[in-house]
């Protein structure tokens, strides 16, 4: 039986940038054992020599001719912004004293 502790879940939630309440952490850690057991079945088969498939199509990189195409105006691009200033996205402090 696999398991993931409350602290393991808290660490993953931090990596995924999701603040979680104590009850969410406990609930997830209690469900994870069962889910991990189920998905761990992928390890039951002998997979030696099998190539990995990341994508269903055998595509090479696709490039288009380097020409200017119409794109969003600054007003449109900013239309959903939670906050803006001087035609730019205004964001909370990224560098500096916080943390």
């Amino acid at each position: 039986m696999s398991s993931l502790s409350r602290d393991d879940v808290a660490k993953l939630a931090g990596l995924a940038r999701i603040e979680m309440t104590e009850s969410e952490l406990v609930e997830l850690s209690s469900q994870f054992g069962m889910i991990l057991d189920a998905v761990a079945r992928v390890q039951e088969m002998d997979l030696s020599g099998v190539k990995a498939t990341s994508h269903p199509q055998p595509l090479e990189n696709i490039a288009r001719p380097d020409v200017v195409l119409p794109s969003l105006s600054p007003e449109d691009a900013l239309s959903g912004a939670p906050a803006q200033e001087e035609s730019r996205f205004r964001v909370p402090q990224i560098l500096g004293e916080a943390e």
Binding site: L4, V9, V39, A52, Q57, L59, G80
Partner: protein, 498 residues
């Protein structure tokens, strides 16, 4: 008028017997009458729909050559961006967002003159199989309002099944078109991966996601398929090839001499009795029409569910990183001195629902160093084996078949606290997504034990989508003559309906 097929509506429009405004208004009236119970729509764009209808009527009057389904109204899954119209993907994190651009699917619908009536409910970011994971409450199955319509495209399926719309668009990452089609007694198709542009389709799992059509008949579904598919330079995984001749195939509907492979692993144990009986009966019907039924073995399918629930969460943990509270969508906790990271974390906590968080955490785990090879790496190898199983099976059969879902529609709330039980409902649909091929679900009748619809799944190789329609149309016609009336005529009348 609303009980006709989309093909009949299109015909009446072409003959001038009705107008798109009249037809659209009739559906808007139906939505007003019954959607309070079904809750298929998150947003009804009454004004926009009538404006589109008026425009297409004018284009017709001026003699413009229009697409075969011009003027027919449609319901759009809220996962596709439509310029200026609220688009949420069923998530609180996108509440109030109005995209500044159209997805390619929407652009194609608009130029084809299809009238978009509104956005339909879905499991948040398409993660779920019952539409109960929507941030805006569940959708109810028109066959029994205490049950789910399936998911994640449950709103679109319920809209078509309750005659609120003759056509709808969904998206299918692990069965999210085929399973709700099965549970609501309609037709749903997941086209070949890359056949329909993903530009403007809010991403869940990019290597599996594909938008596709819903209709009440195989032909209607084909008519919509033809309009929405095609190469798009804005989607690098879009296939640069002509759209398969799906409409012609739906019109010819013939299985004489066709080899139909029954997948050994996708039936029997775990499948509800009434589901299995309707499936077996449909096989007999196909045999009586001259198809040759063979059994095929796909041993790696047993691991498909496990592989899917590693691959999809892994991709989603990466895709959903874009919801960072910076450029669009929700932002909470932006108080003086709060760091960007704190705002991001608080916003993602407030904006994402339980299932989305569960999958992001699972994906983060599966991709983390030390576990990557054992989980994500192994799942990718299983994916290779599934592709090989299909390739082998398609040397023995032209199409493959199975029940679409192991059970009929279940009660709202029944599986919502048991993620694994919910995931098991996708066992028969997931292999198609992992291999990037195409699949259809069409009604096979009602299960004896609960009188609820059962879906029959047909699968075909990549870019052979016409085979789905050819076999589907033949089965549909034979079952219709057996039943005497379409399956939806057996659904109970909704209260408030005229």
């Amino acid at each position: 008028m609303i009980h006709q097929s989309a093909a009949q509506m299109a015909d009446a429009l072409a003959k001038g017997e009705t107008t798109s405004v009249e037809l659209t208004q009739a559906h808007l009236d139906r939505i007003a009458a019954v959607d309070g119970q079904v809750k298929a729509f998150l947003h009804v764009d009454t004004e926009g729909a009538l404006a589109q209808a008026k425009d297409v009527d004018a284009r017709r009057k001026s003699g413009e050559k229009l697409s075969p389904i011009a003027g027919v109204p449609l319901a759009l899954k809220d996962v596709l961006a439509q310029k200026g119209v609220p688009t949420t993907a069923g998530s609180k994190i996108l509440q109030g967002w109005r995209p500044p651009y159209d997805s390619t699917v929407v652009s194609k619908l608009k130029s084809a003159g299809v009238v978009i009536m509104g956005k339909t409910n879905m499991d948040e970011f398409a993660m779920g199989s019952s539409t109960e994971n929507s941030g805006y409450g569940p959708t109810f199955n028109p066959w029994d309002l205490t049950r789910t319509p399936g998911g994640s495209s449950g709103g679109s399926a319920a809209a078509v099944s309750s005659f609120e719309a003759p056509l709808a668009i969904g998206s299918d990452t692990g069965g999210s078109i085929r399973q709700p089609a099965a549970l609501t007694g309609i037709v749903g198709v997941r086209p070949t991966y890359g056949a329909v542009s993903r530009f403007g389709l809010i991403a869940y799992s990019s290597s599996l996601d594909q938008a596709g059509p819903f209709g009440r008949t195989v032909l209607d579904t084909a008519l919509l398929h033809e309009v929405m598919a095609g190469h798009d330079v804005r989607d690098a995984t879009s296939i640069n090839a002509p759209v398969p001749a799906v409409v012609n195939a739906a019109k010819s509907g013939d299985v004489k001499g066709m080899k139909i492979g029954v997948i050994k692993q996708l039936q029997g144990e775990g499948y509800q009795k009434g589901v299995q009986s309707r499936f077996d009966e449909s096989l007999q019907v196909l045999a009586s029409l001259g198809a040759e039924i063979v059994e095929v073995d796909c041993p790696s399918f047993e691991y498909a569910l496990a592989a899917y629930y590693l691959i999809a969460p892994s991709e989603c943990s990466s895709n959903l990183a874009r919801f960072d509270a910076m450029r669009y969508g929700l932002r909470t906790g932006d108080v003086d001195g709060a760091s960007a990271e704190a705002v991001m974390s608080a916003t993602r906590d407030a904006g994402f629902g339980r299932e989305v968080k569960r999958r992001i955490i699972l994906g983060t785990y599966a991709l983390s160093s030390g576990y990557y090879d054992a989980y994500y790496g192994s799942a990718q190898k299983i994916r290779t084996l599934i592709i090989q199983d299909y390739a082998k099976a398609f040397t023995k059969a032209d199409v493959l078949v199975s029940p679409t879902a192991p059970t009929t529609a279940y009660k709202i709330g029944e599986k919502v606290d048991d993620p694994m039980a919910m995931y098991l409902g996708d066992v028969a649909t997931i292999p198609v997504n992992l291999a990037g091929i195409c699949g259809m679900s069409l009604p096979a009748g009602l299960a004896d034990e609960d009188s609820l619809p059962v879906g029959f799944q047909i699968m075909a190789p990549a870019m052979q989508d016409q085979r789905l329609y050819q076999a589907g149309a033949a089965l549909e016609a034979a079952l219709l003559s057996k039943w005497g009336a379409p399956i939806l005529s057996k659904a109970p009348e909704l209260k408030g309906a005229k």
